[in-house]
Symmetry: D2
Subunit: 298 residues, 4 copies
């Protein structure tokens, strides 16, 4: 059993940490929010007064933070985690951030002789609770093998995307594509329904044809077609419009920086951004179909 | 064994007709191009001097024509097929056309007491040769059951999309979505490669994640990732840019007519149109990735 | 003074007809709505019981109808205007319709030996009332010269766009560009304000720089920048979102038919369409800025 | 007469510096490229061995550099200009950069007690040579008044956009709008020509109608319509595709950071980016019409 420091106990981080505890590991936990620390403490973790405090005797450090600046602050700034981490420990940042920050932090880790992985996840809150997350991992193959036992407790699929930062790049590309195919699937369903087709019949046809994609398989945006999808529950839960907008923004910044043409990805960002501004930032991202149907005002 | 009239013996129609002959049916065939008629004649069909002539004693009439005006002409105009078809015959139009024309022809068939199906296909020339096409069928359930034995010779999946015209609507929606997801997949792969990822690794990750779609599964647009895909064969063969542009145009006309918002679908049409104008109309539609990479001039 | 038949007495047609009456012409008027006929009758026109009746002794026939099918019906269908018009009369259709219908009607006129102009207008209801409309005219130069005295009563600028249908094409192109520049101007103003700029100052700078355009000159979409603009009056009056959406739809149909790539025009159509579906169809078209700001739900 | 340090002597900076010399000012000049320094030396400037050297006794410091990192380096990094500038001197950065860098440098200047203006220009190389540039200025009104005499030598229009960074914001918004209206104007002209209109006639109509904009007035993208425009000279000279792509990229970064929906601006960036990748980065930006026409491969 390992000593694990877990930093960042939000909607995703808390259940991930709990799964590690259930698997028998000793966790030292920290979050800016004292109530979050207290809850994990009740689940068997040792509360820490600061990030520095949490990592003091850790063999593994796992972080799950909101954005790039938080990760930079945690490891290199006020949090001072990089300096406080014992030699030989493995650093695993599971936050979704820009690749440049991921690379900068990994470089700093290397300079201190520590191995670091960027390992953003997909699968949402349910995946975190059920231990079925997907990890897209950047860093050395050696570090990945060292981290594998912990990834396998928290998730189901572990992909090695490449060197440092590659996990972030893979997630950004995947989520840009996800934003595009959810919007495109919504357009296709709306266009069929407007011409008299049953959305369930059309979904079934496209799912088995060349329009087939993840949204049609497990996350149909049309209300009533798929009982378990957020679309059939008032677009509550799931992956929020604001999170999708943030991920599409990361993709746009990368597209500008690398001089890549991303017409559909850019457009998806603006559509999600307008949808969010119209008051739907907290709904599931499949609600983009409502934006297109004109129901954002209802 | 049935007497079948087959009208339209192009790249798709010819192998479809041959499969019916191989299954033992008696075919009377017609095409504007005498050489096409001659070739089918060599394969065992009876050549007809005109569409009217072909349908004279048919139990089933199958047509596979380039666009709406040809279908209208064939059945209601000069071709005069509707008037010349014997009572009780089943009409099956497999052309990809606008739903309005499909409905108009089906209505005229109904007025003459004939049952008619619109049954556009997907699966390309290979699907036609191998008898593995997908049919998206509009019309009554009774007509569909009557046509099923013939569909099953020419194809593998037979979907009942709804009443007359619904087959065309389903195909239009599917192909609009296909144009979007091929372009979006291209953008995601380009964005990853520009940041140092291996396109095969990134494809593998997205295929198993929420970006998963038909293009990643069987038709990867990045050269070298999938040996059997057109991308690995200089974008030769497959489904052409000009055909995708035509299908996206049909979708745009329907979107305007039904007051549907289709931002990504509309954009995909303009991108494919520009790609075609740049001289790539004859390439496989997955070559849109080259348009985005700036290689249209090479 | 001429005998003029005026068909179509809506928001635009009625004031156009009144200006002709004020200039001393004898008008015979018809509209499907009897109250509209009655109002013009009160202004000095002779009411007609049908379009055929109206044109019986006309030297000039002017029509102002909602869409292509109405124009076709009026001249070639039930309205029977083409047959009922005396030899030598000039036909002027001021409706905004698709160019194909305009050309079809003009061809029919030519076959009857009548000269016909397509002459869609811009300038809105105020332009119609004040006699300051712009006419974009398609047809022969001879016909245009014959119609000029009447155009000059109803409008200020008369452009000869080309042969039959060219007036419609010119208007379609202009209005597509207008939809683009109004949306683009809205984006630029929003982007500046989000970064702390005063919208009036930014408008003033762009107006005198390379971003200068008609919207900044006379129709600023940002509330409060221009007192006389619809933006400062709750987006009431002016040129409606639904009319802009219709015009963008005509442009899309032409783009598909002529294989033209129109990425921004197509996108503008979908944005205006979604804006309309969100309940803003009756607002002035400069309200697209609110759609982008997320205020469609307020 | 003032002592002016001028840093950055490229295509724009060199003629701006020459105009200041012609007006009688004493210039000390620096550029990374020794030949550029030598040329200005021949025109009467005092060559400096470094930026620090150049500003040693300056009353005014003017910089014209390629991008944000260069400006940061010049003033705050290796260039060390901020520390080396005498008390009381006015700093004027005329580079086109992101507003955040402009604000950071201005803040550093304020901490040293120096006044600083961000003053990006429009008007191109010809404007720089002829002293007819437009300056969009951010900073205090007092600093602007102090800088006015120098702006008036180099340019014709001087706009006060707001506080520090506002000049950059105004230019970014203007140029995003410019990219949109140039592309939109190209689409409208192509759509008209495809339907038989003369591009010159259509341009003339739209210029005087609601589609009127700067491109139609002075920079028509259609070859042959306007003799003096780059379009009539093989798209040589003018404002390059790569520069427009860069400016649109700055706008996208700001849109992501401020959560602004910019669908047309984002799309314009991707179109210009693809156009550049297709080998047209060095052509004038009005050549986007060729990209849409499919002539990028010719």
């Amino acid at each position: 059993m390992a000593d694990i420091a877990f930093i960042g106990l939000g909607n995703m981080g808390a259940p991930m940490a709990e799964n590690l505890i259930k698997a028998g590991h000793r966790l030292s936990v920290y979050d800016l929010n004292p109530q979050a620390v207290e809850r994990l403490s009740g689940a068997g973790a040792t509360p820490a007064a600061s990030a520095t405090d949490a990592v003091g005797s850790a063999q593994v450090v796992i972080s799950m933070l909101p954005a790039g600046p938080h990760v930079r602050d945690c490891y290199l700034g006020k949090g001072n985690v990089m300096a406080a981490t014992p030699a030989g420990a493995l650093l695993m940042d599971c936050s979704t951030i820009d690749a440049a920050t991921a690379r900068a932090v990994a470089t700093a880790a290397g300079e201190r002789g520590l191995m670091m992985l960027d390992a953003p996840v997909s699968g949402g809150v349910n995946g975190a609770i059920n231990g079925t997350l997907t990890f897209m991992v950047g860093g050395s193959g050696e570090a990945l093998e060292q981290g594998r036992p912990y990834f396998e407790i928290m998730g189901k699929n572990i992909f090695h995307a490449g060197e440092a930062g590659a996990g972030q790049v893979a997630k950004m590309c995947n989520n840009m594509l996800l934003g595009i195919l959810m919007t495109g699937t919504s357009e296709a369903l709306n266009l069929g329904v407007a011409q008299g087709l049953d959305p369930a019949v059309l979904s079934d046809i496209m799912k088995q044809s060349s329009g087939g994609n993840w949204a049609l398989n497990v996350y149909n945006p049309y209300p009533g077609v798929m009982d378990t999808a957020p679309a059939s529950k008032g677009y509550q839960g799931g992956f929020g419009v604001d999170l999708m907008t943030k991920d599409l923004g990361l993709a746009m910044q990368a597209a500008v920086a690398t001089r890549t043409a991303t017409p559909l990805g850019s457009l998806a960002r603006s559509l999600y951004q307008a949808h969010s501004l119209q008051g739907s930032g907290g709904l599931d991202f499949s609600s983009i179909i409502r934006f297109l149907q004109g129901e954002d005002d209802q």
